[in-house]
């Protein structure tokens, strides 16, 4: 067999040579050139994708640079007042209380559901599109017209809420009405992620700006923490005595004359009678535990 091959090669040298060149080139084509061509096609496609990516990021950068930081902060502050990041019971109670006082209504009872959730991950509440909600049941007492105005205003304040149910009953032997309202109050936690860095951000649409303007036009019936002056608690400087105040601490105490800086007639302050008005200080009784209040 070997002999035959050798003989063939010797007799057909050129054919063998060209055949070998053909086979080697074919192998080079299959192993080298075709994968290289496919790689370069992929490279071109990658370049195109990268160019699109760059264009998107460029748009995003120019859009972000055009945004006014101060304006955004104002929008954020306004929207956080309407839909806070947490349950914010203080703003909720302030809003309800202010509305009740404004419309001369007395809050006789109040309870809030869904104040606390388990700290574990499984106990975390899933975020809905309109935000998570708390259900508050309020009992109000007052005149029907005042109640009407309360209902009209409560959906136009900057702590967005929705009246889910309303039951009115008349109070015996009076013209006053007791209203039992079920109100849904919303909050929306801060987003955990801001998406991919190359994700395009569209500027606020006209519809969004209209909604924003509508919400901004609503009055805010509580004060945001940033503007309020908070009295700091500073340690009181105490001067420690260097000498004993009395010579004999066990000596019997003798009454001494007290020198008053003011005449005796003004020593007793005139106490004005405190008037309890049902509308001036409405008392809110919340079923929320103090630990749950934030």
């Amino acid at each position: 067999m070997k002999l035959k091959i050798r003989r063939f090669i010797r007799l057909h040298k050129h054919l063998a040579l060209y055949g070998a060149v053909f086979i080697v080139t074919l192998i080079a084509l299959i192993v080298g050139l075709i994968p290289a061509i496919s790689k370069s096609v992929k490279l071109v496609s990658d370049l195109r994708t990268m160019q699109d990516d760059i264009n998107r990021i460029q748009t995003k950068v120019s859009m972000l640079q055009n945004l006014n930081q101060q304006e955004l902060e104002k929008y954020a502050s306004d929207m956080l007042a309407a839909v806070p990041a947490d349950r914010s019971l203080t703003t909720l109670l302030s809003t309800i209380d202010s509305l009740a006082v404004k419309h001369n209504l007395f809050i006789s009872d109040m309870s809030i559901e869904g104040v606390t959730s388990l700290a574990s991950r499984s106990g975390a509440v899933a975020i809905k599109a309109e935000g998570n909600s708390l259900i508050e049941t309020i009992s109000l007492q007052g005149e029907l017209l005042n109640l009407r105005n309360f209902l009209s205003d409560c959906i136009r304040v900057r702590r967005l809420m929705r009246v889910k149910d309303l039951v009115l009953t008349s109070m015996p032997k009076s013209n006053l009405i007791t209203a039992k309202l079920t109100v849904e109050v919303f909050y929306l936690p801060f987003p955990q992620t801001i998406g991919k860095i190359s994700d395009v951000i569209e500027p606020f649409s006209q519809k969004e700006m209209t909604t924003l303007a509508t919400i901004q036009s609503f009055p805010m019936l509580f004060s945001m923490g940033s503007g309020a002056s908070v009295q700091s608690i500073t340690p009181v400087k105490t001067i420690l005595p260097t000498a004993p105040s009395v010579v004999d601490p066990f000596a019997p105490i003798r009454p001494r004359a007290i020198i008053s800086p003011t005449p005796m007639t003004t020593l007793l302050p005139s106490v004005s009678p405190i008037r309890l008005s049902p509308t001036s200080t409405p008392r809110a009784t919340s079923s929320a535990s103090p630990e749950g209040l934030r």
């Binding site: 054919l15 080139t25 990516d53 029907l144 209902l151 967005l160 801001i194 998406g195």
Partner: protein, 179 residues
């Protein structure tokens, strides 16, 4: 000096014409393939070099832009936070119901009489109980209700209950407020 060896092998065999033809074809094919592979190799290498350079330049630009995005991350997070809240606000506003028109209608029905109870039902329906002192007052309440129905302020007025004792008359009414 003459060779003393005698070569019994044929130095040249009789080449068959078919093999000659094959050799010709193989030569052409191998040369063409070689030329193609060489040319293709050069072109692909050139393309790799050019596109590689371009990719490096673009990657540099991309990194620069990404850094700019990172520098504005506070703005972006503020923007996204506001946008999420606007979306939530939009949804809340669209589903809010004002109960004021229902109370307005009730006040109109009541006139000066006292309301015993009020409750909201399905599809804008309202159920109220009105306390009146006499049958004449009861008739006035019902007449007002019919008048409002004619003006299309309410629809489907139904007298649910009517009770009378020595002190007062209680009228239970149900109607749907036309918004």
């Amino acid at each position: 000096m003459a060779s003393q060896n005698i070569n019994l092998f044929q130095t040249k065999s009789t080449i068959q014409p078919l093999l000659e033809l094959i050799e010709q074809y193989v030569r052409i094919a191998s040369m063409s393939l070689l030329a193609f592979v060489l040319t293709g190799g050069i072109m692909v290498s050139a393309a790799f070099y050019i596109f590689g350079q371009q990719r490096d330049a673009m990657e540099k630009d991309r990194q620069l832009l990404l850094q700019q995005v990172k520098d504005n991350v506070s703005k972006e997070s503020l923007f996204l936070m506001v946008r999420a809240r606007i979306a939530a606000g939009e949804k809340i506003l669209s589903t809010q119901v004002s109960y004021a028109p229902f109370i307005d209608t009730t006040i109109k029905v009541l006139q000066s009489f006292s309301l015993s109870s009020f409750s909201m039902g399905q599809k804008n329906s309202v159920s109220i109980t009105v306390s009146v002192a006499s049958l004449t007052d009861a008739t006035r309440v019902l007449a007002t209700l019919m008048d409002m129905e004619k003006k299309k302020e309410i629809s489907n007025p139904i007298l649910q209950s009517f009770s009378m004792d020595e002190k007062k008359i209680q009228i239970g009414l149900t109607y749907t407020v036309v918004l």
